[in-house]
């Protein structure tokens, strides 16, 4: 059962007894009503609604969805494509998969509304290769929707046709980056493109204007279409509208995916109240609030943050509201909503070694700093965990990370540099003393 503090839009029916992924079940719960309503309106009106809603992309960057749509080059005469980014590869994030597994038709409806709003004739769902069941569910849902005339030619008798294709990736983190994803979709190595000039809104899939949206974002579009942009904007806080899916994992009593009004719940309440606090006899040590690429927060840190109205507040980690702006003000980011919790049993160097191993494995290898830097950082942390740490390794790690961030083609550079930068910055003492630590933790031996 949902926690009383939750506000469920996307997860409204999720986990309801008897709620299935089938079309009849979805229709019985009011499915595709929003689509029907939408196709009766002008596409421009819908874009306005989304703009009014203040919806921000849920993929990680938090870019305004309405603005993204307006940036699309509609004058080129080329077809416009919609790509649904279901390549949910960020460690600690599992919300899109949950949506697809529990309510695929909601996504399909969101896609169709978006397609109508942007007059897209072909939409691609790029789903991660590791989600075979999700892909099958989506394919099934699309077939059902086509049978119900929600997808395909002449939708709902409007004369508007749109096809959705499911494309399964081959399993690379970089395919979650929109231009890398586009390359992959085109059948090439997913080397991210250089921006500028290759903004998808202008030169996207097959050099045509392309919209790339996250699964959660598109689900929100459905709700915006249903309730209206202004109503949606009233949910959550100013500039962080709507609800937010948070995926809590790690050392809490009740990990899971929760949906809250954006910014209405603090990190402390989320972890202690909703998720049941730390494991018995343990204390929270650190938390990564927005997927593994976001910067880590150490419990005990204080943040002086200037609010929108000009007042200064002094927050501890527990007091940070879970929205894009507050987390950014505290030096980290909302990202994809993957909250990774670590208690005092965690060997922080080993944790970083784990993350670095991931990033070294996932670097595409296109540009130099990330390609060589990520592997170097992995080798350093792996060596440290292996018991060959040197006191200067922390500083070296930081320096290597500094050489990556901001100098790469795609944001992966930051994604792999930020964890290292923040880990070393906030747990510098542990890195310095790692060589002389008294008792290597079990995680260390496991990693080594």
């Amino acid at each position: 059962m949902p926690h009383p503090a939750e506000r469920r839009l996307i997860f409204e029916h999720v986990d309801e007894p008897g709620y299935t992924t089938d079309l009849p079940c979805y229709l019985a719960h009011g499915g595709y009503e929003a689509l029907k309503k939408s196709v009766a309106r002008k596409p421009e009106e819908l874009i306005d609604e989304v703009k009014k809603s203040g919806l921000r992309g849920r993929g990680g960057a938090g870019f305004s969805c309405g603005v993204k749509w307006t940036l699309v080059d509609r004058k080129s005469g080329k077809p416009i494509y919609l790509i649904v980014n279901a390549d949910e590869s960020e460690p600690g994030t599992f919300k899109d998969r949950y949506i697809i597994h529990q309510d695929p038709h909601q996504l399909v409806e969101g896609i169709m509304i978006t397609c109508w709003a942007n007059q897209v004739r072909q939409a691609y769902i790029y789903i991660r290769g590791e989600f075979p069941r999700g892909a099958r569910l989506l394919e099934h849902a699309i077939a059902e929707a086509r049978a119900g005339n929600f997808v395909g030619p002449n939708i709902l008798g409007t004369g508007y046709s749109c096809e959705i294709y499911v494309h399964r990736g081959a399993g690379a983190y970089i395919c979650g980056e929109e231009t890398g994803l586009i390359e992959s979709l085109e059948g090439k190595r997913p080397y991210p493109r250089i921006k500028p000039p290759f903004f998808p809104a202008v030169l996207g899939l097959y050099q045509c204007p392309t919209i790339v949206n996250n699964v959660e974002t598109l689900c929100h579009v459905k709700h915006i279409a249903a309730m209206g942009g202004e109503a949606f904007a009233r949910i959550g806080t100013l500039n962080n509208t709507g609800t937010r899916l948070l995926c809590v994992s790690g050392h809490v009593q009740r990990p899971g995916t929760y949906e809250f009004e954006s910014g209405k719940i603090t990190l402390g309440r989320l972890l202690n109240e909703i998720c049941g606090g730390p494991r018995p006899g343990r204390q929270f040590k650190a938390v990564i609030p927005g997927g593994s690429s976001s910067k880590i927060l150490r419990f005990g840190e204080r943040f002086k943050v200037k609010q929108r109205d000009g007042t200064m507040v002094d927050w501890g980690v527990e007091d940070i509201p879970m929205d894009f702006d507050s987390l950014a003000a505290c030096g980290t980011m909302g990202g994809s909503g993957g909250v990774i919790v670590m208690d005092d049993s965690v060997d922080i160097v080993a944790a970083l070694a784990n993350l670095n191993a991931f990033y070294a494995h996932e670097s595409c290898g296109q540009c130099t700093p990330c390609r060589e830097g990520s592997l170097w950082m992995k080798k350093i942390t792996a060596r440290m965990v292996r018991g060959e740490a040197r006191p200067e390794d922390g500083a070296l790690l930081k320096s290597v990370a500094d050489q990556i961030a901001g100098r790469t083609i795609c944001p992966f550079g930051e994604a792999c540099a930020w964890p290292t930068q923040s880990f070393v910055q906030k747990f510098g003492d542990e890195f310095r003393n790692y060589a002389s630590r008294p008792n290597p933790g079990p995680a260390a031996t496991e990693l080594a």
């Binding site: 250089i194 996932e362 670097s363 540009c367 130099t368 170097w376 320096s399």
Partner: protein
């Protein structure tokens, strides 16, 4: 090139505080080069598409701040110049094209730090085996590590292991550990050679250059990937481990492979040629050349090279052979078979010889399949030279049928062949038995074997001269190595023959000859050998515009235009 542009097409950009006007869209590496500012780079190549993956060319970029209301540039009251908004993150110069008001800075601490960082990253998994690497000495990684690197290593981990000695094709060897994944070779194969066989496999730092399974990098332009490889990852199997480049002297030359006239550098040491590489000429061959042309230097030391003058198969002194040839010429009934492989100067002297004894002259054509890139159908490098100098009046044919008929008619008793194999040119045993042959050439063949007088001459690598290519572009080549002891410069022999035949004394040195050339050949009136531009000189070809040349379109030549 830029002088042809109207000033309106130029836009002003500011590099390190210095302004320069460049055509719109010029990228910042090229623009900075004009100012003499070097922006280091690995993956960028002016003739290939830009990918921006090496990140070596990071610079700071700024654009004039615009007033949001008026869209006019905001002026800085302090300097009176537009205020510049500098982008916080560094930007790659190779993908930053000139736009109005663009500012870049290449010498700031941030840029320096970026370069140091990228150099360090490039070197951490590089094997640093410069002592055995053929690229050492012309390696951009070495140069830029010296110029922009830290000078020390902080890397103590195990380096990546990748395949070494992978044979990508018959002429290209790959050492993956040295590869910095700049993808120049991939782009070249795809975009220039149109043979998309290369690609990366694996990912991240373990990325490895490889051929498409079952394919090989064996197109006739494969060695260009070796040239453009900024490190020693791709090496030429022919040049591999032969000599360090810093010992080699380069001599500008022209590839005699076809009438394209590819500009080349000949790399030699102590009289031995080690390799040939393309020399950039944006009007002819850009920075490329065919693999087949690179091997032509082997003819210098070929076994069948003619090394001694001979008369009736007996080795004699040069002067005696020349005297024998002169006697034959004076006897009359002489025909001359010139060569499309001779230089303009030699063809001019050949014409003089023909004039002196009123001998008819022919050329033998060599036509093959053009590849549309840098090998044209006409495999003689200098047929147009023979036309310009007046040695012949029309495009030559492959068979000397007219000569054969004249021999059969008994009009011809002596044939002077300039390096042409008469047997291959259609003269049969019956004709050859009736004539005495004076053969001037570099290599032995059936004709030289049966020649009365053989006068060994020099290859294109051993002499100075000029060729006129298919565009009627006069291009110069210089001697790279000395010729064999017994061989003499073609010009000396020809001038000697002219004199022996009573044609008067002509200069036999290149500069002296050019004064005669300039005065006698109208299109060359203003030219001397020394003042020829490095990119060659385009001659007026209107006199020959209706001749049926065999060439099709190549890289910078379109016969239909």
């Amino acid at each position: 090139m830029s002088s042809a542009l109207k000033p309106a097409d130029l836009i002003t950009v500011t590099i390190d505080g210095r302004e320069i006007a460049v055509p719109k869209g010029t990228n910042m590496i090229e623009a900075a080069q004009v100012l003499g500012i070097e922006i280091p780079h690995f993956c960028y190549h002016s003739k290939l598409s830009v990918v921006g993956n090496c990140r070596m060319c990071l610079v700071e970029m700024g654009l004039p701040a615009l007033d949001p209301a008026t869209k006019q540039p905001v002026m800085d009251p302090a300097t009176g110049k537009p205020k510049i908004n500098w982008v916080a993150k560094p930007t790659i110069a190779c993908f930053t094209n000139a736009s109005p008001g663009l500012h870049i800075r290449t010498g700031t601490p941030l840029v320096r730090e970026c370069r140091e960082g990228v150099m360090e990253f490039l070197l951490v998994n590089h094997p640093l085996d410069c002592p055995i690497c053929d690229q050492a000495g012309e390696c951009k990684l070495q140069e830029q590590a010296t110029g922009y690197g830290r000078g020390y290593s902080r890397y103590i981990e195990q380096k990546n292991v990748k395949p070494k000695r992978t044979l990508l094709g018959p002429r290209v060897m790959l050492d993956d550990e040295r590869c910095i994944l700049c993808s120049r070779c991939i782009r070249f194969s795809k975009e220039i050679a149109r043979d998309d066989v290369l690609g990366f496999i694996d990912r991240g730092s373990h990325s490895t250059l490889a051929c498409y399974p079952g394919r090989k990098l064996e197109n006739n332009y494969s060695v260009n990937t070796v040239d453009i490889c900024p490190v020693g990852a791709l090496t030429s199997t022919d040049f591999r481990f032969k000599m360090r480049v810093w010992f080699l002297k380069t001599t500008p030359s022209i590839c005699p492979e076809s009438s394209v006239g590819v500009n080349t550098e000949v790399w030699s040491r102590e009289g031995v040629v080690y390799r040939i590489t393309p020399r950039r000429n944006d009007e002819v061959n850009d920075t490329w050349m065919a693999d087949s042309g690179r091997l032509l230097y082997k003819q210098v030391t070929a076994d069948h090279r003619l090394r001694e003058p001979s008369v009736d198969g007996t080795t004699v002194a040069g002067a005696e052979a020349l005297a024998q040839a002169g006697a034959l010429l004076k006897a009359g009934g002489v025909a001359i078979v010139g060569s499309g492989r001779s230089s303009v100067e030699e063809q001019f002297l050949t014409r003089k010889l023909a004039d002196a004894i009123a001998a008819p002259a022919w050329l033998v054509s060599r036509v093959g399949q053009g590849d549309g890139l840098l090998i044209s159908a006409d495999r003689n490098p200098n047929v147009r030279g023979a036309l310009v100098t007046g040695l012949i009046k029309t495009v030559p044919e492959a068979e000397l049928t007219e000569l054969a008929a004249q021999i059969a008619a008994g009009k011809i008793k002596t044939v002077v062949s300039i390096g042409e194999d008469l047997t291959a040119a259609g003269l049969g045993e019956a004709q050859l038995n009736r004539i005495a042959i004076v053969y001037l050439g570099t290599h032995a063949n059936a004709t030289s074997a049966g020649a009365k007088v053989v006068l060994p001459t020099l290859t294109v690598f051993e002499k100075a001269g000029t060729f006129i290519n298919q565009q009627f572009r006069l291009q110069r080549f210089a001697p790279a190595v000395p010729g064999p002891q017994g061989a003499a410069d073609d010009l000396v022999i020809l001038a000697g023959l002219v004199e022996a035949a009573g044609g008067g004394a002509l200069a036999s040195d290149i500069d002296g000859l050019w004064t005669t050339l300039a005065s006698e050949i109208k299109p060359l009136a203003t030219v001397t050998y020394q003042n020829l531009p490095a990119t060659g000189l385009l001659l007026d070809a209107s006199d020959f515009s209706d001749l049926p040349f065999p060439e099709d379109e190549t890289l910078h030549f379109n016969p239909k235009q």
